[in-house]
């Protein structure tokens, strides 16, 4: 077999299909048949000259999307700031969106009752290296979709836990992800040559953005974070809400008094701060706003790392307020809802105005699943991980041009195919098995299992892009046919040789006794 491989390569030129055909012609006996085949091949119009261009065109239609990706790297000191941003956002909610754009990498978080929103935007200058791309679908409608990556805070927060030790040990950090892979890879290159890699699975989800114009607020204060931190010490963790009362002469931060609270048990604290302590003090309206304490603490955690002053933008009670930090390298915005000042004392704060850019990526994804069985489609919809593009496997025989892009010799491919044919049938069996399981409540385990199979499926799918399965089957059949022909031929040949050797020995034996009678016998056998 190895000899045959070498012979194949000797032919040179672009990888020709139907090596079996070539080999047959080299054997000499079946040259005519092989010749006929190649001619008929040419008849179908697959001229060598046009083969390449057609291949490209076919590839383009088949290639549904180049995945959206993000790749960024930062140094040790920036890791601390990044980690603090994540810790601050963890106070807002349990989910974090990674949203790359040309402005930089944005980390977004919204809490479940939509009363707090946090966004930290790191400009490209913050990173040592920053690359991102959107996914472009080359279909009839060109849609561009971003990397919609939603991470669970529980998975990413422990990675950035001990920030002081991270700052000391980590020399650089790389974060990269692609939308067709199911995970974000975070690598820490630490001292002494230690490399730590974290793979965090993400969900595909559209990040939310808040519409809030800071410039329209009538009251703006800019203050050093240290002052606010001292104020925060006053308040106990049992107190949920903080009231900020402003007049043109002073600012008062106090614990909020709610009638529902047990007045006799809690301490009421107040802190008066004069206008001198603010870097910027502009009060248009005398107001008192009440907002949640937790997010303010989160913001302060972050501000410790950046040493930049915090700006507070607010208006009348009920309108959301913004806490923001504006630096050269990053911009952080925490937008909190405030208690509305109604006579009925509404307990739920007004929710923020959120916008969600709805892309049609989900719909498009569902359309591309033609040719797969229905159960698998249902599974893909339910599974949390977004399934990447699947190709229509019903490729016709004529798509041989794809083979030209294959680097590996057909022998290897074929062996791979042999391995894949049973595997794909196994896969389908698994899918069939998994679908009834989904009706049970144990979805997590099944998702996990499916994700594993889907991982290997991804790889198989990428190979399928180049070798559609039906065509592979056809090739396999031809190879077997040729091989069996060769085998038969060889078998006959060995039999012939054996007989010859037997005859020879007998001739030799008889040669001592007889003469030419044996020659006739030999001729008959040959």
């Amino acid at each position: 077999m190895k000899n045959e491989v070498r012979r194949r390569l000797l032919y040179g030129g672009p990888q020709r299909p139907f090596y079996a055909v070539k080999r047959n012609s080299s054997l000499g006996k079946r040259r005519r048949r092989g010749g006929v085949k190649s001619r008929s091949f040419e008849k179908r119009g697959q001229h060598p000259g046009t083969r390449g261009r057609q291949a490209e065109a076919r590839l383009a239609t088949r290639l549904v999307r180049a995945p959206a990706m993000l790749k960024c790297g930062m140094g040790g000191s920036q890791v601390k700031v990044f980690g603090k941003a994540i810790q601050a956002l963890s106070r807002v909610s349990d989910e974090l969106w990674l949203d790359p754009s040309e402005k930089g990498l944005a980390l977004r978080s919204v809490n479940s009752c939509r009363s707090a929103y946090g966004c930290v935007l790191f400009s490209p200058v913050f990173f040592q290296q920053y690359q991102w791309s959107t996914s472009v679908k080359m279909n009839d409608n060109d849609t561009i979709s971003n990397l919609n990556c939603k991470l669970g805070m529980k998975s990413i927060l422990p990675i950035f836990k001990c920030l002081n030790s991270l700052e000391r040990n980590v020399e650089s950090c790389k974060i990269f992800t692609r939308s067709d892979k199911c995970k974000v890879v975070i690598q820490f290159f630490c001292r002494h040559g230690i490399k730590r890699t974290h793979n965090v699975c993400f969900q595909e989800s559209q990040p939310l953005q808040v519409i809030f114009e800071k410039s329209t607020c009538s009251n703006t204060l800019m203050i050093q974070p240290r002052v606010l931190a001292e104020a925060i010490v006053l308040f106990t963790s049992s107190q949920e809400e903080v009231t900020l009362a402003v007049t043109p002469f002073n600012v008062c931060i106090k614990s909020s008094n709610e009638e529902s609270m047990d007045l006799t048990s809690s301490v009421h604290s107040e802190m008066f701060v004069g206008p001198d302590e603010f870097d910027f003090f502009q009060i248009g309206v005398d107001t008192e706003i009440t907002f949640c304490f937790k997010e303010l603490k989160g913001m302060l955690i972050f501000s410790e790392a950046t040493h930049a002053p915090i700006s507070i933008h607010f208006d009348f009670p009920g309108k959301p307020m913004a806490l923001s930090i504006d630096d050269m390298l990053l911009e952080a915005n925490f937008i909190l809802a405030t208690l509305a000042d109604e006579p009925s004392r509404a307990s739920s704060p007004q929710s923020l105005c959120l916008s969600q850019k709805r892309k049609r990526s989900d719909l498009i994804r569902s359309n591309s699943k033609a040719g797969k069985n229905v159960t698998s489609k249902a599974l893909e919809h339910i599974s949390r991980k977004a399934a990447p593009k699947r190709l229509c496997p019903n490729e016709t025989l004529t798509d041989i041009s794809a083979l030209e892009n294959c680097g590996s010799p057909p022998l290897k491919r074929v062996s791979g195919d042999v391995g894949e044919v049973p595997a794909s049938s196994v896969r389908r069996a698994e899918e069939v098995l998994a679908s009834p399981c989904l009706r049970k409540t144990e979805n997590k385990m099944i998702n996990h299992r499916r994700e594993k199979t889907e991982d290997s499926e991804d790889r198989r799918r990428q190979r399928d892009e180049k070798n559609p399965p039906s065509y592979k089957g056809f090739k396999l059949q031809r190879w077997y046919r040729d091989f069996s022909r060769v085998q038969r031929a060889l078998g006959e040949f060995t039999v012939c040789l054996r007989l010859l050797s037997q005859e020879e020995t007998s001739v030799q034996e008889r040669g001592k006794s007889d003469g030419g009678v044996d020659e006739t016998r030999l001729a008959k056998n040959g």
């Binding site: 002052v227 007045l263 006799t264 301490v267 009421h268 604290s269």
Partner: protein, 317 residues
């Protein structure tokens, strides 16, 4: 008198502050409230006093969750004598107001009973005073804003010229006079053995580890300066011996002669109560004495500079 209706009258205080000079000032009684519970106005003007007040409140917070604050013209007491709730332990902490406050004004319910008894959550006070760690001045007032509360007003130094004022309103409960008799200074019992305590940190770490083994601890000491902490279980028996501790001079000579110096006086106590007591001690006290009444009670008498603390742990029944 007993169930006083608290009228809400504005508290108007103007205090002559010459804090820059740091001199003690006599302040006129400017508080005009019709509270039937008395008035209180104290001012701590020196920062180290503030820090010490913070330390005291921290210690009290660790020792007792809810305690009674007794205010009399010459001293302040933190009392814990709620037998049922605390499981029998009682505490008596005394501080001389002269050592702490640069200005002290108080007025009790009446001239005869010139005392105020307040019940408060000690943690609230310690947290409120935490901000006063580096304060320029600290003022404590008894006020009545919807409900009686102790208003702690802290003046903080800030980088800019304007000083920052922080106010805490700690809700308190006024204890009526009929319950005052329960809150008197406990009598120090005639102890069988009196011994100086070893370094409290060492003792605390030992007791902490013993707590994991058993809840039942035996303290025994003798007049030879030996103190033992024992725990006994089915499987194991652990004893820690402290030697050469020294004994304070006894009051009565008869008792000392009658008693054999080697003989141990012991008490069985709950280890958690002892641990709570030891956990509250941050710094090493100036003086620490342990008095044991055989099988009855153990009495700790500590002196932290000028704050005296007495803690009683009864024997397990």
């Amino acid at each position: 008198m007993t169930s006083a209706v608290l009228k809400c009258c504005p508290v108007d205080v103007t205090v002559n502050r010459s804090l820059s000079t740091g001199k003690l000032h006599r302040v006129e009684l400017l508080l005009q409230t019709k509270l039937a519970l008395g008035t209180l106005d104290v001012l701590l003007s020196k920062s180290f006093l503030c820090a010490r007040a913070v330390g005291v409140s921290n210690m009290i917070a660790k020792l007792a969750k809810t305690c009674t604050l007794r205010i009399s013209p010459d001293k302040l007491n933190f009392i814990l004598s709620d037998k049922l709730a605390s499981g029998g332990v009682s505490m008596w902490c005394e501080l001389e107001q002269e050592n702490f406050f640069s200005e002290f004004q108080m007025e009790g319910i009446s001239a005869a009973n010139n005392e105020i008894y307040l019940e408060l959550t000690s943690e609230n006070l310690s947290r409120a005073l935490k901000t006063a760690q580096n304060a320029r001045a600290l003022k404590i007032k008894l006020t009545n804003k919807h409900y009686p509360c102790l208003t702690v007003s802290i003046e903080l130094l800030s980088v800019s010229s304007s000083s920052r004022i922080v106010t805490h309103d700690i809700p308190v409960k006024v204890i009526p006079r009929r319950l005052w008799k329960d809150l008197q200074e406990p009598t120090v019992p005639d102890s069988d053995v009196s011994i100086y305590l070893p370094v409290l940190k060492t003792m605390k770490s030992v007791v902490e580890k013993m707590k994991n083994i058993s809840n039942h601890l035996i303290i025994e000491a003798n007049l030879n300066g030996e103190l033992n902490l024992k725990i006994e279980t089915e499987l194991v028996c652990v004893t820690t011996h402290f030697k050469d501790l020294g004994n304070p001079p006894l009051a009565s000579e008869n008792a000392s002669q009658a008693r054999n110096p080697e003989q141990m006086a012991e008490v069985h106590i709950d280890i958690r109560k002892l641990l709570q007591f030891l956990a509250g001690q941050q710094a090493n006290p100036t003086k620490a004495v342990c008095n044991i009444v055989n099988n009855k009670i153990v009495h700790f008498d500590l002196l932290h500079e000028d704050v005296s603390l007495q803690y009683f742990i009864p024997a397990l029944s």
